[in-house]
Structures are given as structure tokens and as C-alpha cells.
């Protein structure tokens, strides 16, 4: 909101798709053909569109999820209701490649598509900047996509504004570095960074979101609005630069094989970091595809114990539930027992001399929702049948939508643009 109003931006990007979000959205679209896009689209666009249209800020987002066309229709309705226009809204499709994927396709995780347990419900190729650049060239004010590589959402307006040629790998690499720095919102401006006494960050409750001023070579200054919370330093930028990175010499996107090794970060002023030195080589010929599988159900129950002896009582609770669940052995695919506060994260228990409270957790992946529900019910039964002093039971059941990956030849993926016009 603040950025649309006061940022003097050319483009505002909303990156909203996690690995399995599309598969979840596919299920929503199955139930209702007008759904399957980001459920917060209405709220977000209603909030920013008045300022964005007044300030001629173009909006680019992957909030289209499994249904960019319905998302564009919804955006047109919102704009109409707000009395905004004229506006050209582009929906970019073509990432859905479920029909192109055969069971024999190899998975990046090993094995084949058919060998992964569960029912394949979604297959989405990562599109790049190209179709977004085309939509911008055709005058789009709002662009809603499905699966597009996160940095491509940011690279596209750079290619459009500066007219970079399609094989300008060096600039595409640098632009991808800038996009990667911006793609997790507040994670570059002091969010997800604070560690009191070591890394102090002011004003996190009013965290300023980042923006970049980019020049024609893709060199950029990352900053945020004056008066907003958070901080932008070389340290925050380094953490975000390396976030979800594997080989820094080959960060693969649909647009370029980006090279992060010679990236330079320089603090120009408080909360202003200059970014340069990113480069790249030719784009990959294969596009990554995220597959969504329906793979059974997840059931969980938790209960707390406190005071002297809380850890032995919690361990007793876990062993009771584990024994009782043996009757469901055929329906439970995987079972996990944790003591939250002792070993749930760190895996190897490091016993504390005086543990004052602990939370027992039982989680399982099961073949049926009924079996998943039994996990929490057995934990609830500990109220009357378990060790002394258990409290605060919670339980949950949800379907498991697992993600795996394969790849597809680029020429088998055809991005398309669908237009909604608000007059």
C-alpha cells in the first residue's frame, strides 16, 4: 500500500506462490471453475489498485496460481467496482503442462513420474519473463500469471523498459540477481534477519518493503521508504542473495543461467545498497516442472506437560499413543514422535537439567482421512487415560499435497496471453 502510494514506482510485484500452492489451487478449481487463484487477490488488489492506477504503477503478480484467467476476470470486476479504468489486464497461461507429462518422465528426485506414490494432480512448468514482456509491450496495466520463476516477475519490466536483446545473458543475469533480492518481500529489508544482541533490526512491526531503482545495465539500488521499519545492509542483502541458492555459478531460471559469484554489494547511504556484478550464460533448454501429488493424509495431535517430571510424563504419553496406534499399522505410512522444546527440531535430544514444560507431538501420514483423525483422537484420550497433568490438546487433519519435480523441453511449453479490458 505504502509503496503504491509513495514509492514513485513504475512496477509493483506480488510474488505469492510457494512450491505446492498451485496443486492446492488446482483442487479449488476442480470444485469451482471460477476459483483456483490466490484467495487474497481480492483483498490485495482492492487495497492497492486506487493508488496504483492514480500513480500509473503497473502490477505484476503470480496470484493467478492455477487459474490466471479467472484471476484476471476477478481483477476486472474489482477495478469496475472501484470505478477505475481504462485498464488492460493480462492473464498469462501455458504453465499447466499436466497433459504433456507421461509416467515415464524422470523425476529430479530420482525414479519416474509414475513411481512416485500418490495421484498426480498438477504439473506446472516454470515460465520466464518472455510472456510478461510481451504483455507489457501490448500495454498491460495488470499482469496475472500462474507458475513463473520468481525473479522473472522482476526481470520482465527491466527487459521491457531497457529493450535488452533476448540473448543479453550478462544483463539478464544481473537483472535476475536484483529480482532474487526482491522476491521475498521484507526478507531483504530486515525481515527474517533479527537476532537480538547479534543482528538488531529496528521497527520490525512496521517493516518497510523493498524496491529497486534499476539502471539500463541492470545495476540497482535496493532501498525502502523513509520512516519505515527494518534495515537494508550488505548483510541483509547477502542473506537474501544466498537464500534457496545451490550452485552460485549456475542459478537456473527460464531466462538465464545466472552467475552470482561476482556480485558486489555496497552501502551507499543508510538503507541503500547498490547491487552490481551479476552475470550469466545462456538460458537452460529444459524448463523445470513442479508436480503436485495427492499423497494421503496428515494427522497430528499435541499435548503439553509442565512441572517436575514433565519430560518423563510426555515420553510416557508418546509411548501410550504409539502402542495404541499399532492397530492402524496398515494405514499409517509414516509416524513421527516429538517432544517440542526438547528434540522436535534438533533431532538429537539434549536433555536439560530442569525442563519446566514440554509439548508432546504425534504426527503421521496415513492412507485414509479416518486414520489421520485417529492420531489426534488418541492424543485427546490422554486427558483421561494418559499420564498426570496433560493439557492444551490440539489436533488436525489435512490432505497431503506433495511436490516433486521434473523437466520439459522448452518448445513443448506455449505461453498464451488472455486479455480482460476495463473501459
Amino acid at each position: 500500500m505504502a509503496l503504491a502510494e509513495h514509492g514513485k514506482l513504475g512496477y509493483l510485484v506480488f510474488e505469492c506462490l510457494a512450491e505446492r500452492t498451485i496443486a492446492l489451487a488446482v483442487r479449488a478449481k476442480r470444485d469451482d471453475p471460477e476459483k483456483g487463484y490466490d484467495p487474497l487477490l481480492q483483498e490485495r488488489l482492492s487495497a492497492v489498485l486506487p493508488a496504483a492506477t492514480a500513480n500509473k504503477v503497473k502490477i505484476i503478480s503470480n496470484m493467478g496460481a492455477a487459474n490466471p484467467v479467472a484471476a484476471a476476470r476477478a481483477a476486472a470486476t474489482i477495478a469496475g467496482k472501484l470505478g477505475l479504468g481504462p485498464l488492460k489486464i493480462a492473464a498469462i497461461t501455458g504453465d499447466d503442462v499436466l497433459a504433456e507429462i507421461s509416467g515415464a518422465n524422470p523425476l529430479l528426485e530420482g525414479g519416474t513420474v509414475a513411481e512416485w506414490p500418490g495421484e498426480l494432480i498438477a504439473a506446472n512448468a516454470y515460465l520466464g519473463a518472455e510472456p510478461i514482456v510481451q504483455a507489457l509491450a501490448e500495454g498491460a496495466d495488470i499482469i496475472l500469471t500462474g507458475r513463473v520463476a520468481d525473479p522473472s516477475l522482476f526481470l520482465a519490466p527491466m527487459i521491457h523498459e531497457f529493450g535488452w536483446p533476448a540473448d543479453d545473458w550478462q544483463r539478464f543475469g544481473q537483472g535476475t540477481v536484483v529480482g532474487h533480492l526482491l522476491e521475498c518481500a521484507g526478507q531483504v529489508s530486515g525481515g527474517y534477519f533479527a537476532d537480538p544482541g547479534f543482528k538488531d533490526v529496528p521497527g520490525l512491526a512496521n517493516l518497510g518493503f523493498p524496491f529497486a531503482d534499476v539502471d539500463a545495465n541492470g545495476q540497482a539500488i535496493i532501498s525502502k521508504l523513509p520512516g519505515s521499519g527494518g534495515c537494508i545492509t550488505t548483510a541483509t542483502c547477502k542473506e537474501q542473495l544466498l537464500y534457496e541458492l545451490h550452485d552460485p555459478s549456475a542459478y537456473l531460471t527460464p531466462d538465464v543461467t545466472a552467475d552470482f559469484r561476482n556480485v558486489r554489494l555496497e552501502e551507499r547511504a543508510p538503507d541503500q545498497v547498490a547491487v552490481s556484478g551479476g552475470s550469466g550464460t545462456a538460458r537452460p533448454e529444459q524448463l523445470k516442472v513442479t508436480l503436485g501429488y495427492h499423497e494421503g493424509y496428515f494427522g497430528e495431535g499435541q499435548i503439553s506437560y509442565a512441572g517436575p517430571g514433565c519430560v518423563p510424563r510426555a515420553n510416557l504419553a508418546l509411548s501410550i499413543v504409539e502402542e495404541r496406534l499399532k492397530r492402524l499399522a496398515g494405514e499409517i505410512i509414516e509416524l513421527r514422535l516429538d517432544l517440542i522444546g526438547v528434540n522436535a527440531i534438533a533431532s538429537i535430544a539434549r536433555p536439560l537439567a530442569e525442563q519446566t514444560e514440554v509439548r508432546a507431538r504425534i504426527a503421521a501420514r496415513t492412507r485414509t482421512p479416518q486414520a489421520a483423525a485417529w492420531i489426534g483422537r488418541e492424543v485427546e484420550a490422554l486427558y483421561t487415560n494418559g499420564p498426570a497433568g496433560g493439557g492444551g490438546v490440539t489436533q488436525s487433519v489435512r490432505p497431503v499435497v506433495a511436490a516433486a519435480s521434473t523437466s520439459i523441453a522448452r518448445e513443448r511449453v506455449t505461453p498464451r496471453i488472455h486479455w480482460e479490458i476495463v473501459s
Binding site: A235, L242, S249, E295, L335, I345
Partner: protein, 105 residues
């Protein structure tokens, strides 16, 4: 000395692979990171969590190392039963790593 005294870290996730960046606060401490924060040291510190290979990438101009850890997320973020399925906490666990410069030759 603990890793936390000279470096900061962040984890990221893709499928069943976790990466942890280890970034020196001061560029001059990078050599010490190179010497002490080895793939074996990381794997040993995260014993019981990281089941696969640990690969180290170096970014000397940023004073940073990047560890890519296979089979580290309980079969993958989307199907793991772990409380922290993304392995977001792993980076902070690593800060507790004991590092001491090798002495003598």
C-alpha cells in the same frame, strides 16, 4: 569460539534439499570459516537430520559459504512430518558449531 561469534546464517529449501548460507560479519574472518566450517563439520553438527551429501560452495568476495545438503528435509517440505518442515531452524542450529583455528603447521 562459536560460529555465531563471527558469522550469520540463513536456510532455504527446495524439495528435500536444504541450503544454509554462512556469512562472515567481517571479510577478514572468511579464511577461518573456510578452514573450520567444512562439509563434514556441518554434517556432523546436523547429525540425525541431514541424511545425504553436503556440498560446499565458496563466495569469497561476499565472505560467504553456501552448504547444499541432500536428503535434509524428511523426504521433502511438502510431505515431511517434521514440525519445521522447511528446515528454517537449521541455520540457527548451525550457529552453535564450535570453531577454533588450527594451530601450528
Amino acid at each position: 569460539m562459536k560460529l555465531r561469534d563471527i558469522a550469520h546464517t540463513r536456510s532455504g529449501d527446495k524439495g528435500d534439499i536444504s541450503n544454509i548460507s554462512v556469512i562472515a560479519y567481517r571479510l577478514e574472518d572468511f579464511a577461518l570459516l573456510q578452514q573450520t566450517v567444512t562439509p563434514d563439520a556441518v554434517k556432523a553438527h546436523l547429525q540425525g537430520i541431514v541424511k545425504g551429501e553436503v556440498t560446499r560452495h565458496e563466495l569469497p568476495s561476499l565472505g560467504a559459504l553456501n552448504f547444499v545438503m541432500d536428503r535434509a528435509l524428511g523426504g521433502g517440505v511438502t510431505r515431511s512430518l517434521a514440525l519445521d518442515a522447511h528446515g528454517k531452524c537449521l541455520a540457527a542450529l548451525l550457529l552453535d558449531l564450535e570453531i577454533s583455528p588450527r594451530t601450528g603447521g
